[in-house]
């Protein structure tokens, strides 16, 4: 060990003296500490994932066996099969993609538009409206859920449909029933008040404020309108922030549960299915000891698509976070 160290040190510092050696050893110890620290914390973070993996391929006999802790003796994929059916995986995956994916896409753009308005233009009441943006981020969803449900059940813009009903004297008033359709998520996202939009608008605004104004001014002088400037100049030069926001938006829509469980009565997305999975397993006869492997398998199936997406985009995403500079 020491000889290895010496050669390494000599390679690095040809004119070595005692002080430099001390310095180098100190740094080495520090980095070793750092490594141990980070690895132990990574272990805590990854522990549930590892547990999920190892549980999900355990058979019933492994669970009963006290000698089995991590590595199963008889791996099976039976758990995945049952979980697949309980989740109704293909259908609910499609539902999630349809609901969450499209509304994440809408949200990414609508929030960017609103944030551009807040960051580049002066107008009366801007400060107040931006305070409202932050306020929307603070209010918990749970407060809004039931009124939103009623609004979507009897959907009506500015009382137009109600007016038609009163004019035609319809004894059985007709309303648009948006419950159980993806519109419950699409519409708020389209207007930039969807899931955690307040936070997204804040991140976008912070980034747009840091963009140099000269580019936009040049495009104004060249005859681009503000909207064309936004599309042609601002969006191409802020790919970083778009990446950050889209990852957040996709993940949060994927995990969204509180609103989905109320808004959807038949076409369930994955998260709702997953929350019902435990009771399904219980009715299938997998109680107490039998449940963990199945639940692990179901959870793995649930997070797998997002995890894969994250693994592919991880490096870019982390670089982009460095460069976005989300500062208060």
């Amino acid at each position: 060990m020491t000889s290895f160290l010496k050669t390494k040190v000599k390679d690095k510092f040809p004119d070595l003296n005692r002080h430099k050696l001390k310095d180098y050893i100190g740094k080495w110890i520090l980095s070793a500490f750092r490594l141990v620290f980070l690895i132990s914390i990574s272990y805590i973070i990854l522990y549930p994932l590892f547990a999920m993996f190892s549980f999900s391929i355990m058979s019933k006999s492994d669970i009963m066996d006290t000698s089995v802790t991590w590595i199963t003796k008889s791996p099976t994929f039976e758990n995945f099969k049952i979980a697949w059916e309980a989740l109704d995986y293909p259908t609910s995956l499609l539902n999630t993609l349809l609901i969450g994916g499209i509304s994440a896409l809408l949200e990414i753009f609508s929030c960017a538009v609103a944030a551009y308005g807040f960051s580049r233009f002066q107008f009366k009441g801007r400060g107040l409206l931006f305070a409202l943006v932050l306020f929307t981020a603070i209010v918990p969803v749970q407060i809004l859920v039931i009124p939103l449900f009623l609004n979507f059940r009897y959907f009506d813009v500015l009382g137009i449909i109600g007016l038609i009903n009163t004019i035609t004297q319809n004894p059985d008033p007709v309303y648009l029933d948006l419950i159980d359709t993806p519109f419950t998520f699409w519409l708020p996202s389209l207007f930039g008040v969807g899931l955690r939009s307040g936070l997204f608008i804040f991140i976008y605004r912070q980034f747009f404020m840091g963009l140099p104004k000269e580019l936009e001014e040049a495009s104004w002088i060249d005859g681009c309108g503000p909207f064309m400037t936004f599309v042609r100049v601002v969006i191409p030069s802020s790919g970083v922030v778009f990446l950050t926001v889209s990852i957040f938006a996709i993940i949060w829509h994927w995990n969204e549960y509180y609103q989905s469980v109320i808004f959807f009565t038949n076409t369930f997305p994955l998260s709702v299915r997953l929350s019902n999975a435990l009771t399904i397993f219980e009715t299938l006869g997998y109680r107490n000891e039998g449940a963990p492997p199945l639940v692990s398998a179901a959870c793995l199936l649930f997070i797998l698509p997002v995890l894969i997406m994250y693994l592919f985009m991880q490096k870019k995403f982390i670089q982009s976070i460095d460069r976005v500079g989300i500062v208060g």
Binding site: L38, I41, S42, I44, I45, L46, P48, L49, M52, F55, V68, S110, V113, A114, G117, F118, R120, F121, Q122, F123, R126, L129, V133, T136, I138, V139, P140, V141, Q142, I143, L144, I146, P147, L148, L187, P188, L190, F191, G192, V193, L199, I201, E256, Y257, Y258, S271, A277, L278, N288, V295, C299, I303, L307, Y310, I321, D322, R323, I326, V327, G328
Partner: protein, 366 residues
Amino acid sequence: MKKDKNTETITIAEGSSATSVKDIIKAEKAELRAKKREERLKKKQKIAYDHRGNIIPDLNKKHVKGIESKKSMYGRMFILPWCIGMLLFFIVPLFESLWYSFCYVEVAPGEMYSVFEGIENYRFIFEEDMDFVNNLTKSISSFFTSMPIIVIVSLILALVLNGNFKGRTFFRGVFFVPVIVATGVVMTLLTRSYGGYGAIVQLSAKSAEDAYSAAGTTSGMDFSALLNQLNLPEDLTAQLSKMITDIFNTIWTCGIPVVLYIAGLQTIPAQLYEASKVEGATTWEEFWYITLPMIGQTILLVIVFTLIELLTQSNSLVINQAYTQMIDNANYYHSAAMLWVFFAIVGTIIGLIILIYSKLCLKRWE
């Protein structure tokens, strides 16, 4: 009318030289006032005059407003969709829910009645619902215990991750995993299904009692069993296992704060550190006089974000209680009242923290 009077006084002043200087000054003032009034009238009509009082035709066309007002119009157009959406999907539901919290609400399939009842619901949740006050105090106190821990621990983690070393990207990637996994139903499901049995419960059990009762099971990181074997007093064992549980929970909530901190740390210009090195500052001094003041804004952001996360997370006791009331018992009026009380308290806390923090820390650091 008045104008005529003024001219009269002037003629008088000219006519009789015996009148005092005071009158002359008075007359001059009156004349000035009249002029000002005229100018004001002209301004009101929004007609542009040149210095001779002639109307300038070009400036009175409607579209000539100046680039600034045009720009402000564009700004309004950019945020118009958001304004509409906020009105429809935020402000209206918000006030509706506030209204329901003062009502008796009956939801029948297809219909909904609400009868105004004053503060009856609030009286009920405070006086008759035993659990609510208990849950509220627990939630609020957990706010104050876990918030500083999260803010400080994630700062330390971010400082470590921000250094230059091999495998930095890998560890950063790992630290973002909780954001993917923990925000959803997955964690609740895992803790629920492993309850009393498996491995994860020992790490993420909600209370010390759970962790303690789960001791003795076999698989995974069995801290409680390990602690039991040490033959320590029971209270101490419970406390220790609670602490370990808390470490797990804390690190799992640190995901986004760490990301925010790293983003903030990256914005500090490297020249500052170079300069301090030239001046001979130690690492400790660098931290106190450069790093901390430079990320003051980020710390505020992290504090607010953590509070929001703690407020809306699913295992908050009050939110849980209100939600089960809402979903299982269709008892929306009580749950609305609960949520509003909780939200009012937390909102004030957030406001106070922002105020105190910006007054005490940000001002001094600037």
